[in-house]
Symmetry: C2
């Protein structure tokens, strides 16, 4: 099994931080992650600048990335306009996303589930580069509660050409559920949040079930828009610590990741959610 860790900190992490960082600092973060050996980095999101100020200036960020061989730079897109912007920047991979439930799509993407599905299918059909289809709230929805696994499976089957990633967007999943849904949908990847401290066990469960792509966010950057006091994504360095000691090679330099989180702590002026950068690697 070839494991691909994708650091979504510059996108999912920063997007949920109260303070917006300048494009130059965001590019510096991406360059540091690439230097640490991350095989994939979700660098930006192509959304309207006024809707998510933390993600404003995606093109500026990409222009300042020092491209490194062997690193795949990805961007998030919600619609055709976003995909066109991504194509113009020359990013390697498009991560096209929608929610697993109707209400989530209406609230976040201004579309019904049927419309969102058709939109993703159109983008994937015309894409001229590798694509990921991320299904948000696949394990639970802040608006609809429990999500029917059958519906997620039906959705995943529509995105055959793409790499499918199932996202536990609000951090409610447990390992059994992750194992079952990854196996049932034959999904390639898992995007986990540690909102209720299940994120790391879930990541291992996803690998057991056949996933080969795991998303994580440096320092555990980010949060949860549906639970203001909650933490966000699993921390990349904590996941690397866990995987390496489990005997699963990541190709990522743990000490370099710890250095990046120490740097980010200085930038944000507060303790981050990641724990390994505070406790130290071991032994």
């Amino acid at each position: 099994m070839a494991l691909t860790l994708c650091d979504v900190g510059p996108r999912d992490g920063l997007q949920n931080e109260p303070d917006a960082l300048e494009p130059a600092v965001r590019a510096e973060l991406i360059n540091k992650l690439a230097a640490a050996g991350l095989p994939r980095i979700e660098a930006v999101s192509f959304v309207r600048d006024d809707r998510i100020p933390q993600m404003a200036g995606a093109e500026e960020v990409v222009a300042e990335i020092e491209r490194r061989d062997g690193v795949e730079y990805a961007g998030l897109v919600l619609n055709e306009q976003g995909f066109e912007r991504l194509r113009a920047t020359g990013l390697d991979r498009a991560n096209v996303t929608l929610g697993a439930t109707d209400t989530f799509n209406r609230r976040n993407g201004n579309a019904s589930l049927v419309e969102a599905k058709a939109r993703v299918e159109r983008i994937l059909a015309e894409a001229d580069r590798p694509t990921t289809a991320t299904i948000s709230v696949a394990f639970g929805c802040p608006f609809e509660g429990e999500v029917d696994p059958g519906g997620v499976a039906e959705l995943a089957s529509r995105f055959d050409g793409a790499e499918v990633v199932l996202a536990d967007t609000i951090g409610v999943a447990v390992p059994r559920q992750v194992r079952e849904l990854i196996a049932r949908t034959r999904s390639a990847g898992f995007h986990g949040h540690n909102t209720r401290n299940t994120g790391y066990a879930n990541a291992l469960a996803a690998l057991e079930a056949g996933a080969e792509v795991l998303d994580a966010s440096i320092g555990g950057l980010g949060g949860c828009p549906y639970a203001p006091r909650a933490s966000g994504n699993v921390a990349t360095e904590d996941l690397v610590y866990l995987l390496e000691r489990e005997g699963i090679p990541t190709g990522v330099d743990l000490d370099a990741l710890i250095g990046i989180s120490v740097w980010l702590e200085g930038i944000f002026g507060r303790k981050l959610e990641g724990q390994v950068y505070r406790a130290g690697a071991w032994p």
Copy 2:
């Protein structure tokens, strides 16, 4: 499999908090945990008051506990004097502890590993009530680094009459290691810290390997004396959330636990490490 959750918050949690709580408040915490359905609570530690002020007044704490049927109240003891104090209070169970390494015992118990082992054996041999033997730093030692599993197995085999619990005192273990060492030693229990975000996955691994007792601390109270900025034990409510949703009944009322963590947050005036009490139960 009958799972027994033991809340060590009143002992391992409070012992590692900077602020010492009054015996009456500690007893109130214990009474709240019992009312929430915890089948076992580690209430106090019988150490010298001047050595660990947070644990001072163990007898006062026990005197204020409102004993509840079906709840086992335990105390930690390091030596014969501690066991005599525990016996006088009438607590149900003695948790006798030592470290897996020579240096840890010398630094923490003023004894060599050989002496500590003999001391535990003497106490267990003469005990007139149920006993647990907790082997600290069984998965890694702050002074000696990696710990030989063979040494832990030899140690565990000496404590046949007692329930053996393996402790990941500094939070360095990963699930594979927990699974292997619990299975090899046929230990009854696992005491995990979440210092590097592996604690919840480790708890599940311990159950898979046959453990029937899991320690946790309400709110994730506590810390790590060897890593000042690190977090401590796994949080009881987060573990209950995980187990219940995995389909493993705990008999504990999650909402009641969340209420206790909210109460504790008010007492300490700071955010606790537990995440479920902040994010909310689900669905």
